[in-house]
Symmetry: C2
Subunit: 382 residues, 2 copies
């Protein structure tokens, strides 16, 4: 057993890739900043009561627990940052108006998850608190698209659903919680046979509506079809109206709808969405409305937002190149030191060899070097 | 009991301060990059065997432990990043020449520690692997000074010591481990009475040398005095020569020596140093040589470096101001949207009000607004 082996689904990010992660992280935070989203840094560690709130109880199993040696209470290492920003909105900032927040931080999960199949995603996201209208959702979708473009991705596609539709069917048919969960799972895999079996005890209208949901995916025409085939319940009409507004507002963006896709159903309260890009099999961005998230902190403000795993995004990119470096000889020549300082102040990376250092230029990824020519130090290709 | 209260010594970093942390983090990483230090992102989580190595066994108590649900093995959440970079140097990169690495990441500690008295320092540091000469130490000190200047600090002072002196006294007098630890602790507090008591069983020369150590602090003259009063052991001469070379090389930097200050004695193997700045009571930067750190990974390369807690540094600064934002009205006017895009692409933060949004300009930290004048959208002071 080698003592330097890392646990499964835990990895170092080595120089070339780390430089890219850092550069893309900055691009995202800068993008959020110019849109007025304020950066916050919530802690890695909280009491489990605040970290794993009611609305996010499926986080419980994903969260590593440790004992607080100062109090004996149970703490968790965060597995998601969204509940933390809700806590900050509710109690730390406590603004009356709309609050836009963003974050970028490591989360840990007990089991591998998501795009990168990792236990240590680098979660980057943005949230709007305090606005219930569809306009804040649309602002969030637009920002998600800009974020993916800033990462250099193309072929961006957004897929929308609305948890209100399934919720309305469940409530009107008074489906009990255990069966609700089973049907929910069957819908996620679009398993018609299973949905039909599970729905056998339900009224014919609800059963048919659940079956119809598995077919209601595609472009905006799906919304028209949904109006025809789904029951005329008020919540379903509202949900379809919301989705129709999104279709109109995101003119020019490649979007689709999938009414049985209810990712984060227990967590979200309205429109949910996922963003895809060329070259990735799974969704890169997940988000939606989750008005209930602040309730656990005594202030259930309307909330909408999205997040992505930056490490997962970077892993699927072409291998990164090492940033190139200029090699300088080991010399105390003041003119050389001046030249090195000038180059560095311009943003060029310069390594000055140490006495006795026998590093190869290739190992240091140096493609240029400083040489003394005509009494002055000049940069030359190696 | 409010469920949104954070554990003791765990804090959110809220917008104004978070923006500053991010800006200073970038300055440090950019500084390291132009000096040829490659950024790495080691994981938050490792098996305890690799995280808590022999040389760093005092980390054990500081490290939160969790069970790996995939293997049942014990993992730790890192309490220090330095052993991780040593592992990366030894096994992931495995270069033959000199390797310069840098990092910036959160570490967790079971009890509050260091400058900021926090359990969640943001550890930023730089390391050189593969060079045993004093020149790499001097490169590291120079970089530490530049790092503090980049953070906007002044009145920078570096304090040096060398663990080889105490080590040599211990070995020549064959002091056993338990007594060694007691004397070490007494030396850290310069408790002469205790040092004399503990040294009662030792030979007169060693006892006197240990007592002398508590007085050997001050400017470079201390080194001359040390040559006179300390035993003429080879390792002590070498240590004093190293310190003398540092004094010559750092001409122009405010430096001092404190030969009984052995912070990280069990960890370091040569010169150790601490950097101070005006306005801070404790040391901001800790570092030194720790050639043994890679041994646990089967490759004990020479190593020297430093780290600082960026959150601690920022906490002692004047409260940060919120970055200012331009307020735009809720309107779909294409010229307004164009203007907003232009401002954002230039790096200006613009918040466009949402329909029904009643945020106050002050709450959004907006000091300017977009107004329509003479048929064009213009930025005005509020």
């Amino acid at each position: 057993m080698h003592n330097w082996l890392l646990p499964e689904y835990i990895e170092d990010v080595l120089p070339a890739e780390a430089a890219r992660v850092e550069s893309l992280r900055r691009k995202l935070l800068d993008l959020f900043a110019v849109h007025g989203y304020r950066y916050v840094i919530p802690p890695m560690l909280e009491y489990t009561e605040s970290l794993i709130t009611g609305a996010a109880s499926d986080l419980d199993l994903a969260t590593f627990k440790v004992v607080d040696q100062l109090t004996g209470r149970l703490m968790g290492v965060r597995a998601d940052i969204t509940p933390q920003t809700a806590r900050i909105d509710a109690h730390m900032l406590n603004q009356q108006g709309v609050t836009r927040l963003c974050y970028a931080g490591t989360v840990l999960r007990t089991k591998p998850d998501g795009l990168a199949h990792t236990r240590e995603p680098l979660q980057v996201g943005a949230e709007i608190y305090g606005h219930a209208g569809i306009e804040s959702d649309i602002e969030v979708y637009g920002l998600a698209v800009k974020a993916l473009l800033a990462l250099g991705l193309s072929g961006i596609h957004l897929d929308f659903s609305h948890v209100g539709i399934f919720e309305s069917l469940v409530q009107s048919a008074k489906i009990e919680a255990a069966l609700e969960n089973e049907i929910y799972t069957a819908l996620q895999s679009k398993d018609k046979v299973l949905v039909a079996t599970l729905g056998a005890s339900l009224d014919a209208v609800t059963r048919q509506a659940l079956l119809d949901l598995t077919d209601l995916y595609g472009d905006a025409k799906v919304l028209e079809k949904a109006r025809q085939v789904l029951p005329k319940q008020q919540a379903i009409q509202t949900a379809l109206n919301d989705l129709q507004m999104i279709a109109s507002a995101l003119d020019g963006v490649d979007i689709g709808f999938d009414l049985s896709e209810l990712r984060g159903y227990h967590y979200h309260s309205g429109v949910v969405f996922a963003a895809y890009a060329q070259g990735y099999t799974g969704p890169l961005v997940l988000g939606g409305r989750y008005d209930e998230v602040g309730k656990a902190f005594g202030r259930a403000r309307p909330a909408t937002g999205f997040s992505l795993d930056l490490r997962g995004v970077v892993q699927a990119l072409q291998p990164a190149l090492m940033p190139s470096v200029i090699l300088a000889p080991a010399s105390g020549d003041v003119r050389l030191l001046d030249k090195i300082n000038t180059l560095r102040s311009r943003g060029d990376a310069v390594i000055q060899l140490l006495p006795g250092e026998e590093s190869s230029a290739a190992e240091l990824s140096c493609d240029r070097q400083l040489v003394l020519k005509n009494d002055s130090w000049q940069v030359e290709k190696i």
